[in-house]
């Protein structure tokens, strides 16, 4: 079996609102330049391109086709797209490389959440017969899940606020973060409810942004990167879309993906948890102990660019391998409502 590694990663700053278009070109051009330039590559060196984005977020049809302008797709390229977080595009590219159909792949995700009303746009991913017609908003649904965990004794509002405080403090060292600071937990808890039992600090901000990762196989990875982040496990699983039919205080799909990918013994985990209680839930589902550094970047509570935030988690985790500060890391991505779909990518550095 071939081995595949993350060799490059770049992302835009996480910002509340950009001036750009919803097809992402203005955000993508600089990060393509950064990631390819950093590896000494040009677009003709990339064997496969794959992206993740959403037309509902963009408010236009085939926005991902316009985004291809950022590549400069002539002569024609091998390209694919998923209407999901680009972490799933990374999975597709990984399979492509494992099959030997390419030696390098560039994966990207982008989204301009500020263009629409994110809480309503996300209702489009719910069951279209018996749920979407009620227009449940993403924060309202997360509030139900948070309360169920609180009442089951799995977390409380103070533990949730602690997650927010730690995220913002960690983000002080992340120049691309949207929210950072050193709030006291008591200060956060003094805020009024946004959507009871959630306060604003419990919810990831609305963010425009994009991210990109370059994958390479075998010797090509070793040529391009001094310390590649070798992918040793990459799995994704999905739970029933029936919100009231599963136990919302855990995530069977996250448990299963973590187990299959080999989530144990990691030093760093970047978790895609758009709500504070979901970070606690995921730590538990993935069996991450107190010795694991969770979201040293600040995670998505510090900046949540839709459709690239999961990919960026894998990129942030890989960066700890690239810079030699860790030898085994985990990147996680989620999609769908209330952690319905989960993806886990475990990576290792080798001496």
């Amino acid at each position: 079996m071939r081995e595949v590694a993350v060799v490059g990663f770049a992302q835009t700053p996480c910002v509340r609102e950009t001036d750009g278009t919803t097809n992402g070109v203005e955000m993508l051009v600089p990060i393509f330049h950064e990631v390819l330039g950093g590896l000494g590559l040009t677009k003709s060196d990339i064997g496969f391109w794959c992206s993740g984005s959403s037309d509902y977020l963009a408010g236009r049809a085939f926005s991902f086709v316009s985004a291809v302008d950022a590549i400069g797709a002539f002569p024609p390229i091998a390209e694919s797209h998923v209407e999901m977080d680009a972490a799933w595009a990374l999975y597709e590219a990984w399979v492509k490389l494992l099959c030997g159909e390419a030696d390098t792949a560039l994966v990207y995700g982008f989204g301009k959440s500020s263009a629409g009303q994110l809480r309503r746009v996300l209702a489009m991913q719910l069951d279209p017969y018996v749920v979407t017609p009620l227009w449940p908003d993403s924060v309202g649904l997360a509030g139900i899940q948070a309360r169920m965990g609180i009442e089951a004794g799995l977390w409380d509002e103070r533990a949730m606020a602690s997650v927010a405080a730690r995220s913002r403090a960690a983000a002080l060292s992340n120049p691309l973060a949207q929210l950072s600071g050193s709030p006291e937990v008591d200060e956060l808890l003094a805020d009024e409810y946004f959507v009871n039992p959630l306060r604003r600090h419990d919810c990831a901000p609305i963010t425009d942004g994009a991210a990109t990762i370059v994958l390479a196989a075998g010797d090509r990875a070793r040529e391009l990167c001094e310390r590649p982040a070798w992918i040793t496990g990459f799995e994704h699983r999905v739970d029933s879309p029936s919100l009231g039919g599963r136990d919302l205080t855990t995530s069977p799909s996250a448990v299963a993906a973590g187990k299959a990918a080999g989530a144990e013994d990691v030093e760093v985990a970047e978790l895609h948890a758009p709500f504070t209680h979901q970070e606690i839930l995921l730590r538990q589902a993935l069996g991450l102990g107190d010795d694991v550094a969770v979201n040293p970047s600040g995670g998505v509570l510090a900046g949540n660019p839709m459709f690239s935030a999961g990919l960026a988690r894998i990129g942030e985790a890989a960066r700890r391998i690239h810079d030699g500060s860790a030898s085994r890391v985990l990147g996680h991505a989620t999609s769908g409502p209330l952690l319905q779909q989960n993806l886990v990518c475990v990576m290792e550095g080798r001496e």
Partner: protein, 317 residues
């Protein structure tokens, strides 16, 4: 630098979906103020009914009637309801386990205040007077120990087989930094293109990046309103929103100095006389009707110049 032009963009459409037998039964029964679940492989009753068991994936078929009263299993409080939600006053989203069901249904609870609702609270369906066979036939749930309105008599001859869900989403659509001078130019009757710094191709309309080189275009180029028909078609088919009765000609026009043709209307000539290579000129609308749009050019018409040689536009087909 001024921000690029932006404008509200409202996207609205109806999704029309066939229900299949399982959801069709559920929605048909809602019309009669009945809630129907389905028995799963493990004996649990799922409400709303599932077509396949979530664990074993076997098809499910044993319908089970449940009550339209139940218990709140989890909730959140929406102080500022959003468009389309069941209530326009503060309300709770709740997972509600109806009496006789083993899973919970998502709906709104009209509780008045977050202090009035708790997990474990008893609720009943508030049925809509005019029911169509949709989840919104339950307007919302209300806090109550009492039974809900009783079922009506079933009329078995008109089952729900389709459901229409209107979608209305609102955006702010922004022009790109390269589209912005193009749109502002149009307001003055000028045609502003952009040149790629790498391949020197001239794009009209401009694009955020050159699709060949992937680099932002930087140089503005002003073009005349004359060009060449590279190719065309004769539209004979009527369609929704059509502004001109068919037949008429849609032509790709390559403005002089541009490298990419664009589609526009060609009038002033019988469709059968239109040719590739034909020289055309813009016919502008009256100045007072101009806006940031290509519709400022009402149409193109033959300019009377001799046809352009094929080699002059063959690379732009």
């Amino acid at each position: 630098m001024t921000r690029p032009l932006s404008a509200p963009l409202d996207v609205g459409f109806d999704y029309t979906r066939s229900t299949g037998p399982t959801l069709g039964r559920f929605l048909t029964d809602l019309r009669h103020r009945r809630v129907t679940g389905i028995r799963g492989a493990d004996g649990r009753v799922h409400v709303p009914p599932l077509e396949y068991d979530p664990v074993t994936a076997e098809p499910l078929s044993e319908f089970v009637g449940v009550a339209s009263t139940g218990v709140v299993r989890g909730w959140s409080w929406i102080p500022d309801p959003l468009e389309g939600q069941p209530l326009d006053r503060p309300f709770a989203w709740a997972l509600i386990q109806l009496d006789g069901a083993d899973t919970a249904l998502l709906h709104a609870v009209d509780a008045g205040s977050p202090d009035a609702i708790t997990t474990g609270a008893r609720v009943r369906a508030r049925w809509r007077a005019a029911r169509v066979g949709a989840i919104t036939d339950i307007e919302y749930f209300e806090l109550s120990d009492e039974p809900a309105d009783p079922p009506t008599d079933a009329s078995p001859d008109n089952d729900v087989t389709m459901v229409v869900t209107p979608v209305n989403l609102h955006y702010t659509h922004s022009a790109s930094p390269t589209e912005d001078p193009f749109l502002r130019g149009l307001m003055e009757g000028r045609l502003i293109a952009q040149r790629c710094p790498a391949c020197e191709k001239v794009y009209f309309p401009p694009r955020p990046a050159c699709p060949t080189d992937g680099v932002p275009t930087t140089d503005q180029v002003e073009l005349s309103d004359r060009g060449t028909v590279t190719t065309f078609c004769i539209v004979n088919v009527p369609f929704l929103g059509q502004r001109i009765p068919p037949p008429y000609v849609s032509a790709y026009v390559l403005l002089d100095g541009a490298d990419i043709p664009f589609l526009h209307l060609l009038l002033g000539i019988a469709p059968e006389d239109v040719r590739m290579g034909m020289r055309v000129e813009a016919v502008w609308k009256p100045r007072e009707e101009w806006g940031p749009t290509m519709q400022n050019i009402d149409h193109f018409r033959p300019s009377g110049e001799p046809d352009a040689p094929f080699d002059s536009y063959s690379r732009h087909l």
